[in-house]
Symmetry: C2
Subunit: 412 residues, 2 copies
């Protein structure tokens, strides 16, 4: 593992000064290799699927593990899209003269070496490598042991692309041992790794955050709220509340709790309940909700702090904006929260006073996503406050250093 780290650090130096054209050449080379080797990739993937079935993996797990021709084409397309993004490295901003005569500015630079720890989906191997590569970083990938054959095959394509771009092959290293101790070593190599990005279930992320000696860009809970204000447009309220819950269930930016102002609750909740039930969403309500929707299951205190990731929604009637803000600050996870209102001052207050990575007015929480935000690609959504907050694209894999230009200036 230490050798892996040393080689990554060495490669990161070359990567940090690699020209944009070389990096793009490598990305396109990887995309071509993936498509050229589709059949071989599928064959390697079948080995993983078979082993998984024998080990008794459940069907959801096998689903995530499976590669298809279409999936491989999408992976290649993703690489081409990353190649088309602007290169963030080397960008100089804020360059200005100081009274002393020196010129001070900031230059965007790669983080260095990024360790990515993920579970079953083999496409993460290509996606994560692409983002690290374009942002001038070296990376060490540690995928799930159940996907080892697929990951190795994808890593071969990556190496081919790197060589085509004239970049060091150690810029992307896959840890091929399935020994669990390797993860423990990876997150303790602070001299060789600059940041850890865990992708997977909450328990994986929690364990890594706790044990890592290296900063972790992490995603924990997504307990997202929509607050329907009494000064809202009813159609917008129903559209946004329905979309935020039902467009997809198992995602971090889906609404888990609906807050609704008392004056409009009796008008909107019956219609909303009807629409939710048509989609099979189970409703759990506060006592005031139950008075309007008697069929509702009573919500417990625990419901307000639960990320269902399922067709379940808790509903709470609040007096107005202040109570909604209080609820969100108390029970939310600072991920994504939205207000539906036509009131200028309340919209402005909500934007300022909700301390979440994404705060929205009259839009569905489902928009909290790197692609929707125009980042071009996304390594994940960060619930950290420091460094990258919210969807993390190329910029989140870089940092800024100060540059000073002088003419023999000295400090007096």
């Amino acid at each position: 593992m230490l050798t892996v780290g040393e080689r990554a650090r060495e490669a990161s130096r070359a990567m940090s000064r690699a020209e944009t054209g070389a990096k793009n050449g490598a990305l396109l080379g990887i995309a071509d290799a993936l498509q050229d080797k589709t059949q071989a990739l599928l064959a390697d993937n079948r080995k993983d699927l078979e082993a998984g079935r024998q080990r008794g993996l459940d069907s959801a797990m096998l689903d995530r593990l499976e590669l298809t021709e279409k999936g491989i084409a999408a992976m290649a397309q993703g690489l081409r899209e990353v190649a088309a993004l602007p290169d963030p490295v080397g960008e100089i901003t804020d360059l200005s003269y100081r009274p002393s005569g020196i010129q001070v500015g900031r230059m965007r630079v790669p983080l260095g070496v990024i360790g990515i720890i993920y579970e079953s989906r083999p496409n993460v191997t290509a996606d994560a490598a692409a983002l690290c590569l374009k942002s001038g970083n070296a990376c060490i990938l540690r995928g799930g042991s159940e996907a080892i054959h697929s990951n190795k095959a994808i890593a071969d394509c990556i190496r081919e692309g790197l060589e085509q771009g004239g970049l060091p092959r150690d810029a992307v290293q896959l840890i091929e041992t399935t020994d669990r101790a390797a993860v423990g070593e990876l997150i303790r190599m602070e001299r060789h790794v600059d940041v850890i990005v865990p992708r997977g279930g909450k328990s994986l992320i929690e364990r890594i955050s706790e044990e890592s000696r290296i900063p972790v860009i992490k995603h924990l809970d997504g307990i997202c709220h929509v607050y329907i204000d009494d000064r809202c447009d009813f159609d917008k309220a129903i559209q946004v509340a329905l979309n935020a819950k039902t467009q997809r269930y198992g995602v971090c930016n889906a609404m888990e709790t609906l807050l609704i102002a008392a004056p409009v609750a009796p008008i909107l909740l019956p219609d909303l309940a009807h629409l939710y039930r048509e989609k099979g969403v189970e409703l759990r309500g506060c006592p005031r909700t139950l008075r309007i929707l008697p069929d509702c299951i009573p919500a417990t205190e625990e419901d307000w702090g639960t990320e269902y990731l399922a067709p379940i929604l808790s509903i709470r009637v609040v007096e107005g904006l202040d109570e909604a803000l209080d609820h969100i600050n108390r029970h939310g996870s600072q991920h994504t929260d939205a207000i539906v209102t036509e009131d200028y001052t309340r919209a402005r207050r909500f934007l300022r006073e909700v301390d979440s990575s994404s705060v929205m007015v009259n839009a569905s929480t489902r928009f909290a996503d790197g692609y929707e935000y125009g980042l071009g690609a996304e390594i994940g959504i960060s619930t950290n406050k420091l460094h990258a907050r919210g969807p993390v694209g190329l910029e989140g894999l870089t940092t800024r250093k100060f540059i000073v230009l002088g003419d023999g200036h000295i400090r007096t």
Copy 2:
């Protein structure tokens, strides 16, 4: 301690939405209180000095501990300068329309609660509180036990100012117990504290970084280099190399190792050595340096990785830019490094390829400082790569959230 944390979290909510005028009012109120109570502050400070003398603190420590009328006036002036800085909170940038119709931007927001752990200097109490307050954060201050009377007196002035600005008095809390266990608790309250800023000796910072469960904005080594290229202007080279070492010795941005290109070493080193020796700087050289400066002490491998913080300089003759870059990457601490050259391409390469928080061309490393960079004030210099890198001002105590403005938009 838990109560302190809860009260800080509560106060941070009010602080995050506090108007700029209220924050400035508080800062000016604290400045006035400090000046009005100068005599009382000096009396409290004398208690600390007396206790320190009895405990046998050395004179450097007592020096740092001592408040003077002039020092108190400077503290008050610092607060007024922070009041005059622009308020970073609420700044909205990058707001643009996406193809889906939503408008996406970023809003600068406070980090929340900042824990500051520092040693003897009582002025940190006022300086740190001012930066946290202006950036909309609540803070918990833990000063050295040897300065407890001085810190308490300053904290009283801070409370007075907060009340004057109509801000919660818990926005700045001083931990008054001198129990060492309090620090251990503070750095583990991840639910109530968002970032820890340790200020003091390296051993304090290392211990806190290791034990903290909260992200730490920290400053470790400052092993700074000046590389004199063979295509340099001789006068600039001598000026910069002299200033970087001798303008002050005990500071993190002083040069510790001089690298010089072989072709100019015989021309420049004798003059430089003469100037350094006039200032009483001890020189330690590589074998090639010794051939030019036979009186020099031979440098050991350890010298290249040592932050002297003293009138000692190690000197190494290198073939040229590549060897200089290699030395800096191998032995440096990624703090501040400078090149002296008139060569366009080498200047450009040095700026891009040196991975330090400050990289300079033809300027003294001593410029690496928040005031010199125009940040207005500085909570410290960060050697972290993530979040804040280099001098940290108000901006480093904030983060950015995404904001989304829609008109009932939903994701399809």
